[in-house]
Symmetry: C2
Subunit: 220 residues, 2 copies
């Protein structure tokens, strides 16, 4: 089984400091929601983020990264064969668990609506039989819960290796869910590995891991 963790994903509801910002009120009104119940999205809230979270304006409010990560991983042959588990860990130490049979909305707007519902209720679509649910967990707690010892942290500043060579049959791979910068989570006990000379997006990194795992273990 391959476990893929998108870590420190920039996925959060609009923080309180921004509830009165015009760009936030605008989007909230258009969607018939309260500012506190919509996702922070740099496409719409970039100036608000710049004003209130200096130095983080090129980092925060990126639900699209989690969306592309899930669209790639959940649609992969590996997942369709039930050999993959994916987790989205957020900057606020929440973990979104996703049942492998979940079909994530292809439309970005619908994805955003789904995640907002998830943050609001804690589960989607029902508490009894959720496809997605949230738990308050940091990366260490999540790793303990997964209970797998082979953990690989991918990072462009790590030691360069060929991903195919190092994947084990039972493997956890941690990928950053942010557009730039470094991990916020405490992962200093893990060796960092780089699979390419340069930055790769989270969704491309995820699929490199998936495709190489499929190839190594004859899934495809």
């Amino acid at each position: 089984m391959l476990h893929l963790i998108l870590a420190d994903a920039e996925l959060e509801l609009v923080p309180e400091e921004l509830w009165n910002h015009p760009s936030v009120i605008n989007v909230a009104q258009r969607r018939g929601k309260k500012p506190r119940n919509i996702l922070l999205d740099s496409t719409f809230h970039h100036s608000a983020i710049r004003e209130h979270f200096k130095g983080e304006e090129n980092r925060r409010g990126r639900p699209d990264i989690a969306h592309y990560f899930l669209l790639n991983s959940l649609e992969s042959p590996l997942n369709l064969k039930n050999d993959l588990r994916v987790y989205v860990h957020t900057r606020n130490n929440e973990v979104i668990f996703i049942r492998p049979e979940t079909r994530i909305p292809k439309s970005y707007n619908r994805f955003v609506g789904l995640i907002e519902e998830l943050f609001h209720n804690g589960y989607v679509p029902s508490k009894k039989d959720p496809l997605l649910w949230i738990e308050k967990l940091n990366i260490k707690d999540l790793l303990r819960k997964i209970g797998e010892e082979n953990v690989l942290v991918l990072c462009s500043k790590g030691e360069k290796k060929r991903i195919y060579e190092i994947l084990e049959k039972d493997q956890v791979v941690i990928i950053g869910g942010f557009p730039s910068g470094t991990f916020m989570s405490d992962i200093k006990n893990f060796k960092k590995t780089s699979i390419f000379d340069g930055d790769l997006t989270a969704w491309v990194t995820a699929y490199e891991v998936i495709a190489n795992y499929e190839f190594k273990f004859s899934i495809l």
Copy 2:
């Protein structure tokens, strides 16, 4: 060099029959454009498509497929190393050429705006030095233009093969750019190959090809 063609992509401006449909007028007004200048998008125009294009309601208006295809392929190590060329061929026999250094907008809304500008002007950002441009070409003309003889058509109904085994160093791979159904283009002279027991999305298929090519020819 690997050439990836997204063929018969469901990417088109709103057809004339739908210019007066409320859902089309709605979206056009909100974006300050004329109905004829916005992309057909099943998220917003599904009922209009169902009314006017019976039997195609689960097929037409899918700019998201081209978007995910480009986000995956242009961000890949293979493209970053300049060993990939991608083409989006549409249902109306237009071909979008994309320079490898193009950074496609991550935001879906911005991508839609970019493609609308492209359909309107024929190029983006400038005629003299375009990153994307459109030519009126069918698949056969495109293949002639590429001038590569190894052509592979991927299709879930084709003969099952391991993609790694069959890729050549100089290779054209054709992937369907539609969510369901079969190719509209005349590709009957090409053998169809399937890489998995079941349907895969275009963007996942594209990355399987890319990752296996990278592995086979030691790019990654």
